[in-house]
């Protein structure tokens, strides 16, 4: 297995506030990597740096052996932002079509990908409706479908399951696992729900702009002698100080 994402001594500040401090990280191909931590810890910023929509102040990020930012990489990364970046005056289908057309897919490919992505998040019946009448959960699902539209090698999902009902959440997770196992995709997700963290292959616990602990869920629990990841997080936070 190769390395999909490599982060090398990356720091980032917004004004006087330092959001990320000297982050070093390697994410292997074909795994689900979770960034866990409270809101404001810097998860979203880290994710945006990897996607390439913001530049780090210092350090370098390499994705699929290409230094970020690289225009070719945008095709390989499917990004789902934390805020639903959707066009509310358009229908779900029009949103999907619009983003699909930015990747120069053929008409046939476009149709297939839209059908697949919409089916995955169970939005087929609502595709003809405007996004402005969608519920919060439906908007999240549409955002997820858009992230999958160009069949990217890497999925970067910022809080993908917020506002999605439990049944569908299970469905989404099963699909993420299938994408990893059958299509060898690398998936990066951020979450602050610890039971979701359990489902990741590897976890980076983020607090105050640094990664305070990392490892597989089992490793982490063993290392800190903890019953749950919640406990790991608390103990790791304490030892960090």
């Amino acid at each position: 297995m190769g390395v999909s994402v490599r982060i090398d001594r990356v720091s980032k500040s917004f004004g006087k506030k330092q959001v990320l401090k000297d982050i070093n990280l390697e994410i292997e191909e074909g795994m689900i990597y979770g960034f866990i931590g409270p809101s404001g810890a810097g998860k979203t910023t880290l994710v945006k740096l990897i996607v390439g929509i913001h530049a780090p102040d210092t350090g370098t990020i390499t994705v699929l052996n290409k230094k970020v930012p690289d225009m070719d990489l945008f095709r390989d990364i499917g990004y789902m932002a934390q805020s639903d970046a959707l066009y509310h005056d358009l229908t779900g289908l029009e949103n999907l079509k619009f983003f699909a057309s930015l990747y120069n897919l053929s008409k046939k490919e476009q149709k297939e990908r839209i059908e697949y992505a919409a089916g995955l998040v169970k939005l087929n019946d609502d595709l003809k409706r405007r996004v402005s009448v969608y519920s919060g959960g439906m908007k999240r699902r549409l955002s997820l479908a858009i992230a999958l539209i160009q069949d990217p090698k890497i999925l970067i999902l910022d809080e993908p399951t917020v506002g999605i009902d439990p049944e569908l959440r299970v469905g989404v997770w099963n699909e993420l696992k299938r994408l990893r196992d059958e299509e060898g995709k690398t998936i990066l997700i951020t979450t602050h729900v610890m039971d979701e963290a359990e489902k990741c292959d590897y976890i980076g616990m983020v607090r105050d702009g640094t990664i305070i602990a990392r490892g597989t869920p089992a490793e982490l629990k063993e290392r800190y002698g903890a019953e749950s990841l919640d406990e790991v997080f608390l103990k790791a936070g304490r030892s960090d100080k």
Partner: protein, 351 residues
């Protein structure tokens, strides 16, 4: 083609936003129509009360287009009670004019007319005593007009100027708010995570909103010329070129300023700062009357150049050669703001 996809999206969004469409196409027509009636209205005759005024003078006053109402006696209270604009009293061998003066320009006019009438009456009396005919020939002075004609009204000049101003104002508002919506909803950032290049994005915005600016320009210009009868001596093609360039200036300025707003309200706050001052420099008040440092300001006002060019073409009937400088100035504005927009998009990513 990514640019085409973005243009298509902008068009769909715009067509669905009925209010914005109304703002863009109906609002300028509505305001221009109001202005037309406002400036072309026939003023009503001022009401002048008179006390102890000879009939011969009353006759002259009435010829001066004033409604003359005689009173036995009168003072300030009469003016207010009878809703008069002025009261002319003759007592102890002298005239006294009481002016209501809630509208100073009307008061000035009445003052002037009354003085002329009294002078005319004295002249007529003298002529009568000397036995000579002092009838003035109306056509003693023959008038020739270089631009326009005897019927040219205030609205002919103002109409041409405001056609440009409205194009600027509404396109500015539309592009500013639309871009702001893209920023606050996160879609602009999301676009930055796709292979779209910054110049593709900018081209698409210019073309997408440009389409609507073109339609607006066509509607406003056609309506002003055909329905409102604004003079158009020069070519309508030139008028459209001027307005289009101005629309693109508004588009690029609106897009750029949306970077500095974090809400729709903050975007609206730019109107008194960026848009309103432009009206002052369009030529309603001649530039030559302004202090030198103010004239320098005009050089930074895109609407100033457009209004100048519109006046040359619509009112004076000049061709391209007369407006090349103004058009060039507009192009400079566009280029500068396109560069600024490209730079501001860099805060997301390069390329």
């Amino acid at each position: 083609m990514r640019t085409a996809a973005i243009i298509k999206r902008i068009c769909i969004e715009m067509m669905r936003d009925k209010r914005s469409m109304a703002l863009l196409f109906i609002a300028p027509v509505f305001i221009l129509t109001l202005m037309y009636f406002f400036f072309n209205g026939e003023p009503t005759d001022p009401r002048l009360g008179v006390v102890h005024i000879e009939d011969s003078l009353v006759q002259i006053l009435e010829e001066q287009e004033m409604e003359v109402i005689p009173f036995e006696k009168g003072d300030k209270d009469t003016v207010l009670a009878e809703d008069l604009d002025a009261l002319l009293v003759y007592e102890n061998g002298a005239y006294k004019l009481i002016l209501e003066n809630s509208d100073p320009s009307l008061a000035n006019t009445i003052n002037l007319k009354v003085n002329q009438s009294i002078a005319a009456q004295i002249r007529a009396k003298l002529a009568g005593q000397l036995g000579i005919n002092l009838e003035m020939d109306e056509n003693l002075v023959v008038k020739e007009y270089i631009y326009g004609d005897a019927d040219s009204g205030y609205f002919d000049i103002l109409g041409t100027i405001f056609v440009g101003f409205f194009v600027f104002f509404f396109v500015f508002l539309l592009s500013g708010i639309s871009l702001l919506k893209e920023r606050t909803s996160g879609t602009l950032e999301r676009l930055m995570a796709t292979p779209v290049r910054r110049w593709e994005l900018l081209t698409a915005y210019l073309a997408g909103y440009g389409v609507f600016a073109v339609i607006q320009t066509l509607i406003v210009v056609t309506y002003s010329v055909t329905v409102l009868d604004v003079v158009l001596v020069g070519s309508i093609g030139h008028v459209i070129i001027i307005n289009l360039l101005l629309a693109f200036v508004a588009l690029t300025i609106g897009m750029f300023l949306s970077t500095f707003a974090s809400s729709e309200f903050q975007m609206v706050q730019f109107i008194p700062v960026v848009v309103i001052p432009q009206i002052l420099f369009v030529g309603i008040i001649p530039l030559e009357w302004m202090a030198d440092w103010l004239q320098v300001f005009a050089k930074f006002m895109p609407v100033h150049y457009a209004a100048n060019a519109l006046k040359e073409v619509m009112y004076k009937g000049e061709g391209l050669h007369a407006i090349t400088g103004d058009l060039l100035a507009l192009v400079v504005f566009i280029v500068v703001f396109i560069i600024l927009n490209l730079l501001s998009l860099r805060r997301y990513r390069r390329g």
